[in-house]
């Protein structure tokens, strides 16, 4: 698979270390997120996935480690810093206000003003364009309250909200966890579209079906260590599960020893 952009990944994390008191959450984690690719972040509960995305999105500040954005070293200390770089995170709870409509949610906290008043027309136009570009066309009215949307539509609105702001990296935390089959397909489709628009996507998912359906790259955390990251084609279900559950002790041996033997076993 060809590299979508130059040699430098959009975001490069090196030697990230984070502990909470005596608990070591992340140990020397490396991660590459190339533009135009969907990277899945897998790992068992407590592997450090959430801590890692919170370090990237500025909720936590790592204890040690380096972060490079488009090749330049950067320090992300707050959500504001990450937003300024073009990193947007869609959390599992989506952070939508049910009583506000789609436009109001998409611009929440960043309303456009004209003569110091809300510029509803400009906001509605921009929101409609963004939704159309992501081909989110199942909503009946852009002015309907988010509370009346389905789970998949809500996820779409949250994603659209994230990509409106010149974002280059969209992080999604368990976007399909609460969704049915059709809605999951809709969200996966949306992720592919973000990738096709040249954005980098980092998605946390427990669902291996989703992981394989949409990922270009897969990274696996195990007990706070990054045990493997590679192109999705280098994995199959079984190897991913083994990396997630054992940290790759078994698989690593197999792969070193017999090349693609693990793939054959699957």
């Amino acid at each position: 698979m060809a590299e979508a952009t130059g040699d430098e990944p959009l975001l490069k994390v090196r030697g990230l270390y984070k502990s909470f008191g005596a608990v070591q959450a992340l140990a020397e984690v490396d991660l590459d997120l190339p533009a135009g690719e969907v990277t899945s972040l897998s790992g068992d509960n407590g592997a450090g996935k959430s801590v890692l995305i919170k370090c990237i999105s500025g909720i936590y500040e790592p204890d040690r480690g380096h972060t490079y954005w488009e090749g330049r070293p950067v320090r992300i200390r707050s959500a504001h810093d990450s937003a300024a770089l073009g990193i947007e995170t869609v959390y599992q709870d989506l952070a939508l206000a049910d009583n506000l409509d789609i436009v109001q949610n998409m611009f929440l906290g960043r309303e456009r003003l004209r003569h110091r008043l809300l510029d509803e027309d400009a906001m509605e136009r921009a929101a409609a364009e963004t939704l159309a570009g992501l081909r989110v066309t199942t909503v009946r009215s852009i002015r309907q309250p988010v509370g009346s949307l389905s789970g998949g539509q809500r996820q779409s609105v949250a994603v659209a909200k994230a990509v409106m702001w010149n974002s280059k990296l969209v992080i999604m935390d368990e976007p399909t966890a609460a969704l049915g089959v059709t809605q999951t397909a809709m969200v996966l489709d949306l992720m592919r579209r973000l990738r096709d628009h040249g954005l980098a996507v980092l998605v946390i998912s427990h669902n291996l079906n989703d992981v394989f359906a949409v990922s270009d790259r897969i990274a696996v955390l195990y007990l706070g260590r990054m045990v493997v990251q590679d192109k999705a084609s280098a994995f199959d279900r079984q190897t991913v599960v083994e990396y997630m559950t054992t940290g790759g002790l078994g698989v690593a041996g197999t792969r070193v020893g017999s090349g693609d033997g693990a793939v054959g076993d699957g």
């Binding site: 003003l113 809300l118 159309a132 570009g133 009946r140 009215s141 002015r143 628009h197």
Partner: protein, 455 residues
């Protein structure tokens, strides 16, 4: 939908310069396809009605229940009141004056309710503001000009709101308790301020002096019939032009907008209401002599309604109040300064309560220890909720307070006409309140389940 195959027609990303522009080249989607999906723009009356029904089903029943309730009240009381006096011009004006205090206090309470909080103190905060103003204009003591007295009274109320709001937002005390304490405290303050001066606790507004008359006229003053027509024509023309221009601009740019016919219907409706109000108020309602013209109180209520509607619907501050009421965590993550927005909502609540208090003092023709602040605040909350404002935060408008206040005033007035004792008024008002809260709760449940199973 949910086509799992990535579409090859997607154009490559154009470099993005401005942070306010969408990051993806969205205009390039599906070569030449319209930017706005057909489903998004409802342009005909039928589509619009369908969208409105959808909103109602989705829990946004809005003003529909209260309007139906008002119609029911009018029909019932007109039918059973002695000599069908309910809809006589004199009684309608009277009903409105009786409702004005509830309307303004309900609009005050709306700020707290929108946040999912409650302010129980306004039943005495308003009267405290009123008694300050009444005391200040007394000719035999301070003899302040009426406008200065009103400003000081309203500022005092705003300060009270700031203190209570700070306790709620900074110390994270429950608003129910803080304002319950406020209800007691300001009842005491009211009694203290009442006792100042040589009025035996009954400073009145009955004198002929300008400043005293000015406060008295807040409720009992009126403009001449001709002035009434002119002012109402200006208001309707201004609002109508604004509405029509906005709707047609939105239609032209393909945004969600009501069809022309609906804009026209709305403007005609405003005109009809305006004409009806002025016409009714211009009928001579005195038993002896002449008493005609639109009361000042109508313009005060309309002014408060206009100002707070504008603040809540058109400004960033208003948007943030709704956002915090809907999902405080989302608001916080969006970078909204939740604490200060909430504190200011309490300030606005108490400030507006001060306006209601001034109307109340004017209605009573002075202040005394007869003020039943507990009942005032309960009626204010009831009026807001009956009007369609949710107790759970995030839903409601200033106009809901006005309509709910009319319902409460209508029940009060109708029961009085029937000669029924006050206990029946309480019972009926309580029943209406239960009905209103039921509608709110059921429609919320409807909205929670509406999302399920829809893609």
């Amino acid at each position: 939908m949910a086509d799992p195959v990535p579409n090859p027609a997607d154009a490559p990303l154009a470099p993005v310069q401005s942070p306010t522009e969408p990051a993806v080249d969205l205009t390039a989607a599906e070569g030449g396809a319209p930017l706005v999906p057909a489903e998004i723009g409802a342009q005909t009356m039928r589509e619009y009605v369908r969208a409105a029904l959808l909103r109602i089903r989705g829990g946004e029943s809005g003003m529909l229940p209260v309007v139906l309730g008002l119609v029911a009240i009018v029909i019932v009381f007109q039918a059973i009141s002695p000599h069908h006096v309910f809809l006589s011009a004199g009684n309608i004006v009277n009903l409105f004056l009786q409702s004005a205090v509830f309307m303004v206090l309900a609009m005050a309470e709306t700020f707290a309710l929108l946040l999912g909080e409650i302010d129980l103190s306004i039943g005495y905060v308003g009267p405290v503001g009123a008694v300050i103003a009444v005391q200040l204009v007394q000719p035999s003591t301070s003899n302040w000009p009426w406008w200065a007295a009103i400003i000081v009274a309203l500022l005092a109320c705003a300060l009270i709101g700031f203190l209570q709001g700070t306790l709620v937002t900074r110390l994270r005390l429950p608003s129910f308790i803080v304002t319950l304490a406020g209800l007691l405290i300001f009842n005491g303050v009211l009694l203290i301020v009442l006792a100042i001066g040589p009025f035996s606790g009954y400073p009145s507004l009955s004198g002929p002096q300008t400043n005293v008359r000015a406060l008295y006229n807040l409720m009992w003053g009126h403009i001449t019939p001709t002035q009434g027509w002119i002012v109402m024509a200006l208001i309707v023309a201004g609002l109508g032009a604004n509405l029509y221009l906005r709707d047609s601009r939105r239609r032209r740019s393909g945004l969600v907008a009501p069809p022309v016919s609906l804009s026209v219907v709305k403007i005609l409706f405003m005109a009809v209401v305006g004409i009806a109000v002025v016409w009714v108020c211009n009928v001579n309602r005195a038993a002896v002599g002449t008493l005609e013209g639109v009361p000042w109180a109508i313009f005060i209520v309309l002014g408060v309604l206009g100002a707070w509607t504008f603040l809540l619907q058109r400004t960033r501050y208003g948007r943030y109040i709704y956002a915090i009421g809907g999902n405080p965590e989302a608001a916080r993550r969006a970078g909204i300064k939740v604490t200060s927005i909430r504190t200011w909502a309490f300030v606005l609540c108490s400030f507006t309560a001060g306006i209601g208090g001034l109307l109340y003092a004017s209605y009573l023709g002075g202040m005394s220890n007869n003020v039943n602040g507990g009942q005032l605040v309960l009626y204010a909350v009831a009026a807001a909720v009956i009007g369609g404002t949710s107790l759970f935060g995030g839903r409601g408008k200033a106009v809901h307070g006005v309509l709910g206040g009319l319902v409460i005033g209508g029940i009060y007035n109708g029961m009085y006409l029937l000669g029924l004792a006050v206990q029946w008024e309480f019972i009926v008002t309580g029943g209406v309140l239960i009905g209103a809260v039921t509608i709110d709760a059921v429609s919320r449940r409807g909205s929670a389940s509406a999302g399920v199973g829809r893609v």
